[in-house]
């Protein structure tokens, strides 16, 4: 799934990191097509609650997800740091509005921990795993679950 660089028995995967509030999240670099500065987002009546609207990306209509809402976080105004991460999700292209995009990090498979199960379990819904970076915990997002639309957040 990820771009894997074999390094002995400990393959390395690459993750694009972004921030929401103080937390840093990672998404599979192979799913990221590009990162946009904020652009005009047109609302879509009747769309699920976590859909912010649509943008025109070089003539193609792309749905943009309100990631904060999807994650159950408080709303925040779009500012200079805000970015729309354009992702490939199956046959579709989807945008995720995030507070900021940080960097691309390499993670060894051995450094990725499974997020502990809690209850039945809402908590691990979008979480593929976690990894400790020098500046804190990186939360790895499972895009398939995030974009599944099973839950309107």
């Amino acid at each position: 799934m990820n771009q894997q660089v074999q390094s002995g028995n400990d393959p390395v995967t690459e993750w694009v990191t972004f921030r929401l509030d103080a937390e840093k999240y990672g998404i599979d670099v192979m799913r990221v097509r590009e990162v946009l500065r904020n652009t005009e987002i047109a609302p879509v009546p009747g769309a699920p609650g976590f859909v912010l609207g649509i943008i025109n990306l070089r003539g193609n209509v792309v749905t943009v997800i309100d990631t904060r809402k999807r994650f159950g976080l408080a709303p925040k105004d779009i500012d200079e740091s805000s970015r729309i991460v354009i992702l490939e999700a199956g046959d579709e292209v989807v945008g995720m509005l995030v507070d900021s995009v940080a960097e691309v990090v390499d993670l060894r498979a051995s450094s990725i921990e499974t997020a502990p199960n809690v209850g039945n379990d809402e908590s691990a819904k979008f979480i593929q795993g976690v990894s400790n970076l020098d500046d804190g915990l990186l939360i790895l997002v499972d895009l398939n679950k995030l974009l599944s639309g099973e839950d309107d957040g």
Partner: protein, 216 residues
């Protein structure tokens, strides 16, 4: 008479005592004022686990008392992995979580889930009275070999308890994490391995997961 004592207690204490009284009622039959409506023959059906007195309760043991939103809880030292101070930013929240799951905290080089104990142990009708965790939490008590952190408001003393000072629960269909109650310290005694099990899987014990109680 026991009942009268309990009612007097309620009059003295605030609403929290009502909850503690409810916990007491769950323990021995003589305190169960619902006995009148209970079946005459006590059922012997055993829960799969978390039944009776845990092994550490067979002899005198020490327990750490801590408080969550005014309620005192006790955790046996033999099942206590450690305690850390709560520090803002030390717990990383995870998205899409239930409110009582505060996030992950580094402990012994592991990412350990930390829960707001008050939200888990307080009854549903008291949930609204729980102050925001941001204003309360001061410590994290680690249990189950350091695999779970129970965030609490304040630590109290370590007490030594004899088995006969604890009103052990005989069967646990709900609040399986509650091993018994200690009247002298007005506290609820946790069964940490069962609490860990409940946190990982035991939905019947979670808030909003049902209102049935044992002894019915």
């Amino acid at each position: 008479m026991e009942r009268d004592k309990l009612h007097a207690l309620v009059a003295e204490k605030d609403a929290l005592s009502v909850y503690f009284e409810a916990l007491l009622r769950e323990a021995p039959p003589e305190l169960d004022i619902e006995t009148i409506t209970a079946p005459a023959i006590a059922p012997v059906a055993a829960p799969v686990r978390s039944e009776g007195r845990p092994a550490w309760g067979d002899e005198t043991f020490q327990a750490l008392l801590f408080r969550v939103n005014g309620l005192t809880l006790a955790v046996p030292l033999v099942e206590l992995s450690g305690v850390q101070e709560w520090e803002d930013g030390k717990v990383t929240p995870l998205p899409g979580h239930v409110p009582w799951y505060l996030g992950l905290m580094q402990y012994r080089e592991r990412n350990v889930p930390v829960v707001d104990t008050a939200q888990l142990v307080m009854p549903e009708d008291r949930q609204a009275n729980i102050r925001p965790w941001q204003e309360r939490l001061r410590h994290v008590v680690f249990i189950a070999d350091g695999t779970w952190g129970l965030a609490c408001d304040e630590l109290a003393e370590v007490v030594t308890l004899r088995p006969d000072e604890v009103r052990w629960r005989t069967s646990r269909t709900r609040r399986r994490w509650l091993a018994g109650t200690v009247i002298e310290h007005m506290c609820a005694l946790l069964d940490p391995p069962v609490f860990a099990d409940v946190l990982a899987s035991g939905l019947e014990d979670m808030p909003d997961a049902g209102t049935q109680d044992e002894g019915e």
